[in-house]
């Protein structure tokens, strides 16, 4: 299939037209912004601040555990710190960070001007911020959840967790889930319907495939956690429902099932976008298209499906029927197949490419090493007898830090270095970048490798201290030492970013000579991304010389017009005017936030949220002046 392109016409915009495009896409104000790049950056920066907070909490824990019978933190404070650490890292850092990268990058990679629903995007960001402020605002008043990041009842129930900490935790989840769901819907529709003409399904950049799979996982998994945290836990605590109360026919295991039906896919929601980043980095730095594209896509989709059949492997120690457990063991081991396929494809790509050893590629190598290690302990833990031995020990802590830091954080740092020129218009310093990589890599392994051993020696997780006589001291000392190397690596990274965004060499449109569309526009891109939307005929359009490639003309410049293309073939289907900027998504988010904050104390808060939210939504949808700019 080829699109009817017309030969050789001047396509660059004349100056007055460009001015018009600029004016149409001007930002209306700080609270009204709907430009995907600005919102993406806000997501990234906000999530990074939460990473720092979560990191400080991790250091506090490591300091406490660094010596036996330490008294730096008491048991109650330690419980609060590890709960804050896990909650922050999962809900306020990892997912929003991945969403932020997606919000920034996906429209650029697809060759369009914005996401499909820009106002929803703004609303999602403000809800995320509202959730973060709830958790840390409450922490400032010493109302801190302390039942772990998954808050199992009965420990988290009204009887054993009095006070408002767990309620704050449960409602904070609602905020971040709403935010993630907004981004999932808008990115899925953007990827399905707003690709550049000619970008058929088998030409979508792997990163966008990853974001599509992730979006669908969010859509099917996140409602479960809202049911678990809000309907079960919060309602049991505040209005006296009995979902997890065995005395009245409820069941605490019900909570675990529903929580992990979300919780396991959640891990992949964090990690699948990272796989897409890895592919993008490898393609650009091995200077070839990824080896085994169809296998990679199928592996990603397969990962997405299998992820929903794994949740019980978090519950092997709860005494479920063995036949069911056996199924979940088999499913858990299947993940090794889909992950293995991808690792092989990456190695094949690296092997046959012409490598350029950038900082980003260093992080990818670090990822492959650490992630394979974590994957192997994962296969070990999928086996029930071994899991029962290692359950709730530091072996599990070591395992999931290997897969999460290795599988998500290293690719994320790699991606950040890779796309830094696009974000800021300046090159990031490679020497400092590599220094921070080595510090993070060495520090990480020093911290978490000993935890495998101390876990196998029987050290349980979530204890605030341990006696000298058990001999766990040296392992923990080493881990604490490693944690500080990680911290210094982080400082080097931050210093590098701060310095490079002011003093780095100016970046041109495509500093890496990469092949995908985000590198076809200036660094940083204008608000409208591309003066003319591209038409593509290959997976790496910038590496391809084809008569079927070119530019779209005929979109109106005097309003925010984008092109809608068909779902499979990406044939142009219609034009579509995306709405202008308005403050109403912000007002709506504030209204919802006020109500949901109040709901921590009383069910009536939901009615407040509904009324305020409805007012916001009416303002949001009320018809406004014509969409066109007056000439």
């Amino acid at each position: 299939m080829s699109l009817p392109l017309t030969a050789d016409r001047q396509v660059t915009h004349e100056a007055p037209e460009r001015d018009l495009l600029k004016r149409v896409w001007t930002n209306a104000g700080w609270f009204s912004v709907t430009t995907h790049q600005r919102l993406g950056k806000r997501y990234i920066i906000t999530a990074f601040i939460f990473l720092l907070l979560g990191g400080i909490e991790a250091l506090l824990m490591r300091l406490q555990l660094g010596a036996p019978e330490n008294t730096l933190l008491g048991p109650a404070r330690y419980n609060q710190i590890f709960t804050l650490h896990g909650t922050t890292m999962m809900f306020l850092f990892a997912v929003p960070m991945m969403e932020g990268m997606g919000v920034y990058l996906v429209p650029l990679l697809l060759g369009t001007r914005n996401v499909a629903f820009p106002r929803l995007n703004a609303f999602g960001y403000w809800m995320f911020l509202g959730g973060g402020l709830l958790l840390y605002g409450a922490a400032l008043t010493n109302t801190i959840p302390d039942a772990g990041w998954f808050a199992y009842p009965p420990l988290s129930g009204p009887q054993f967790s009095p006070g408002k900490g767990v309620d704050v935790w449960a409602q904070m989840i609602t905020f971040t889930e709403i935010s993630a769901l907004c981004v999932a819907v808008e990115l899925a529709v953007t990827i399905l319907r707003m690709r550049a003409p000619g970008m058929t399904l088998n030409k979508i950049p792997m990163y966008c495939w990853a974001m599509l799979v992730q979006s669908f996982m969010i859509i099917f998994a996140m409602p479960a956690v809202m049911v678990a945290s809000t309907v079960f836990l919060l309602n049991d605590r505040t209005i006296g429902t009995h979902f997890v109360n065995p005395a009245e026919g409820g069941d605490p295991l019900l909570y675990q099932h529903v929580f992990w039906f979300f919780g396991h896919p959640e891990v992949y929601i964090i990690f699948i976008p990272a796989l897409g980043m890895v592919t993008a980095i490898i393609e650009a730095n091995a200077r070839r298209s990824v080896f085994g594209y169809p296998a990679m896509v199928l592996a990603l989709v397969g990962n997405g499906f299998v992820a929903f059949g794994l949740w019980v492997h978090h519950m092997f120690a709860t005494g479920l029927p063995q036949i069911g457990e056996a199924y979940f063991t088999a499913a858990s081991m299947m993940i090794a197949i889909t992950s293995g396929v991808q690792i092989f494809c990456w190695i094949g790509t690296l092997w046959t490419g012409r490598l350029r050893l950038t900082t980003a590629l260093h992080f990818v190598f670090g990822f492959i090493f650490i992630f394979v290690m974590g994957g192997m302990t994962g296969v070990i833990l999928a086996s029930i007898p071994l899991d029962l031995q290692a359950h709730d020990t530091f072996f599990v802590v070591a395992h999931f830090h290997y897969v999460l830091i290795g599988g998500a954080l290293f690719p994320l740092f790699g991606g950040f270095h890779h796309w830094f020129p696009k974000f800021t218009g300046r090159m990031i310093d490679e020497r400092l970048g590599k220094l921070s990589f080595w510090m993070l890599f060495i520090g990480f392994n020093l911290t978490f490798f000993p935890l495998h051993l101390v876990g196998l020696n029987g050290m349980p997780r979530r204890v605030y201290t341990y006696p000298v006589s058990l001999g766990w001291g040296p392992y923990n000392q080493l881990a604490t030492f490693g944690a500080f190397i990680i911290a210094f690596g982080g400082v080097v990274f931050i210093a590098n970013v701060m310095r490079s965004r002011k003093l780095g060499a100016a970046a041109d449109a495509n500093p890496w000579d990469a092949g995908t569309l985000e590198w076809a526009t200036t660094s940083p891109p204008p608000n409208y991304n591309f003066e003319c939307l591209p038409v593509v005929a290959a997976r790496q359009p910038l590496w391809t010389d084809s008569p079927e490639q070119g530019s779209v003309v005929g979109l109106r410049d005097d309003r925010r017009e984008v092109l809608v293309t068909s779902f499979l073939e990406a044939k142009p289907q219609s034009r579509y005017v995306i709405p202008g900027e308005t403050i109403w998504p912000f007002i709506t988010a504030v209204g919802f936030s006020i109500g949901l904050y109040y709901s921590v104390f009383s069910f009536a808060g939901y009615y407040v949220a509904s009324v305020l939210g409805m007012i916001g939504l009416i303002g949001w949808f009320w018809p406004r002046r014509p969409l066109e700019l007056r000439p």
Binding site: T6, V227, T241, H242, P534
Partner: protein, 205 residues
């Protein structure tokens, strides 16, 4: 390299009011989110049933489905109103849009009244036991969604009646009908679970 050749799209429809619009796809995905939530709640209903001996609990009579079944008539009929409105939105027929939305709203309000009457007959609350919790939660959340959609429908009626609307608002009418079909459609399995579930999986274990 992006060459110098061009693809002219100026002939394309500037605003598609149909199922090809991105907004339609967004609405479908929003419905998928709601659907996942109700799916989890249905699973919860049966899970709770499995963990107790007697269902419904002693003192709670088996639900009598005839009234809820009767109430299905206005509910299903209200979809006709949605259909008329969304077809009229595609053709920009203001009178029929108002007719369809009004019909939808009137029948849905009638349905809500019937549901309210049915609801008052429950002799347990969310705080009675786990059975009460799940039944009330399903009823509450579905009713909440229905009311939210009806408020949106009311706002659309106001906008269309004022007469100062454009393609975006017509697309809104179409997409509103999609949400309404979903809310009616999802009620069918919920209705089966709530009113027939106890007959199918009830009694003493």
């Amino acid at each position: 390299m992006i060459g110098t050749r061009t693809l002219d799209v100026s002939e394309l429809q500037p605003f598609e009011i149909s199922n090809k619009s991105p907004l339609f796809w967004g609405q479908v995905l929003m419905c998928a989110i709601e659907g996942s939530m109700f799916f989890i709640l249905i699973a919860t209903y049966f899970y709770i049933r499995m963990s107790v001996d007697v269902w419904p609990p002693p003192g709670v009579p088996s639900p009598k489905p005839w009234f809820a079944t009767l109430a299905l008539i206005p509910l299903l009929a209200s979809c006709v109103g949605s259909y008329i409105a969304s077809e009229a939105a595609k053709k920009d027929d203001r009178r029929r849009m108002l007719l369809g939305l009004g019909l939808n709203l009137a029948l849905a309000v009638l349905y809500l009244v019937l549901r309210g009457i049915e609801w008052r007959r429950l002799n347990f609350t969310w705080a009675s036991d786990a059975h009460g919790s799940i039944v009330w939660t399903i009823l509450f959340l579905h009713t909440y969604d229905v009311i939210a959609d009806l408020l949106m429908t009311t706002v659309l009626i106001l906008i269309i009646a004022r007469g100062r609307y454009g393609e975006k608002q017509r697309l809104g009418v179409h997409v509103d009908s999609i949400l309404w079909y979903f809310l009616v459609g999802i009620w069918i399995p919920l209705y089966v679970v709530l009113y027939w579930g106890a007959h199918l999986v009830g009694g003493a274990r």
